[in-house]
Amino acid sequence: MKRDTAFAQKVMDEIPSVSRCYQCLTCTLGCPLVFAMDLKPHEILKHVQLGDKEKVLRASTPWICTSCETCATRCPNEINIVDLMDLLRKMSVKEGMVTEQGPKVNDVFLDEIRKRGRVHELSLVIDLKRKTGNLFKLDIDEIRLGIEMFLHGKLKILPTKIKGTDAIKKIFTRLEKAK
C-alpha cells in the first residue's frame, strides 16, 4: 500500500471527526447495504486514516451508500460519515477513479433540473438508460413495472418546465465556474 498522507490530511481537514474513529464497527453493523460494498464503512474510515487513497477512491462503498444516515446517527464518536461519503464521491470523480455507475445517475438527474427546473421521471429513466448503454437492454421485471405504472396513470407523459429557468441556469453556471 502506498501511503498518501496528504490525502489523509485533506480529508481530515474537511471532516476533522474522521480522526476519532476507533473501529467499534457500529457503522458497519447498522449499514443496510454493507452486503454490496467492497469496503465496509469502518474499513473506509481506517483506510482514510492510513492515507490509502487508491483503495478508498476506487471503492464501491460511496456509490452503494444511499445516505440513509444510520451510521452517522449511531456513531458514538459523532463522525459525520455521510459527509465523508459525499467528499469521497467528489474526490473520486475529480481524480477519475470512479468504478461504479453512480455518478451517471447524478449527471442525468442534474441535467433534468438544469433543462426544466424540475425532474420528469419518465425522461430521467430513458436518459439514464441511454447514458449507461442500456436503452435496448431491458430486463423483464423493468418492462413489467413500467407497463404497470403506465396503466395505473402513474407516469406523467409530458414534462413541466418552470418559468424561472433563468435562476436555475445561474445556479448551474456558478457550478461550472466553481469546478
Binding site: K104, L110, V119, D141, G153, K154, I171, L175
Partner: protein, 283 residues
Amino acid sequence: MKIGYYPGCSLESTAIEYDRSVRAVAAQVGVELIEIPDWNCCGASSTHPVDAVLTAALPARNLVIAEEMGLDHLAIPCAACFLRFRDAQKRLKEDPALRKKVEETLGKKYKGTTKISHPLSIFSQPEIKKKIKQKIVHPLKGLKVVCYYGCYLVRPPETTHIDDLENPMVMDDLIGLTGAEALDWAWKVDCCGAGHALLRPELVDRLVGDILEGARKTGAQGIVDACPLCQANLEGHQKGPDAPLPIFYFTELLGLAMGLEKEAEGWWKKHLISPKKAVARQR
C-alpha cells in the same frame, strides 16, 4: 390556517395520489395549502455528492419565493424533499460564507425564517388532531397495519427532529385515530434502497424483501408510508409467492376514515397493488 405547500417532482407523477390525499385531508381539517408558484426541484440525492452551494441553492430558491409571499410555514410531504429543505436551511444558518454564495447566485436575499414541516407534524398538532377525531365517520376497525418511516423523516435527527429516531410514533398515533390498529414492529426506520431502483434494482429487491417479510411476520394487512420513493419501492418490488401487501400513504387512510370514499376510489386506482380489498374487509 394558511400554510405554503411544496409538492415536489414525484407528487406530480408517480405519487399523484399522495398529493391528492394530502390536499384532501388538509381541506377537511381547515388547513389551506398554498402551492409555491413556479417551484423547482430540491435536487434530491443528486446534489449533495456534487457541490455544497448547488445543494443549498435549489431549495433556497423555493424558500425565497415563500418568504416573498409572506408564508412563514411550509408543508413538504416528500420525505426526501423535506430533508433537503431542512438540511439547506440548517447549513445556510450555520455557514455565513455559504449563505453569501447562495444569495449571490440567486441575486436575492434569503432570510431563513420559514418553518419547514412534514404533514405528519402538521396533522399531529393537538388542535388538528382534535378536528381529525371529530371528522372520523368510517372508523377502519379491524384493519391491521404497520407504519413505515424510512430514513429521511428521522435521520439525521439534528436536522429532521420530527420524532424519536429509532422508534418514531407520530404516524402510528395518527393512524390510531382512524380506528385502524398500528402494530409495533422493528423495520420502521430501515432503508428501502431509495434511488438504487434506477440502476441496481436487485439491491432494492433485497431491502424491500426484508421489510415486507417483517410486516408479514407482524401480521400486518398493509404498510403505511409517508414518502413517495419508499412507497414506489415497496409497491414495485414485491416478488415471490406471498399475497401482495398494499402500501398506503398515511393521508389516504386518514381521508378514507373521514368519509372521503369517492376520492379514495380515485387514489386506489393509482396503486400498483390495489388497497381496495384490504379496506373493504373492514366494512
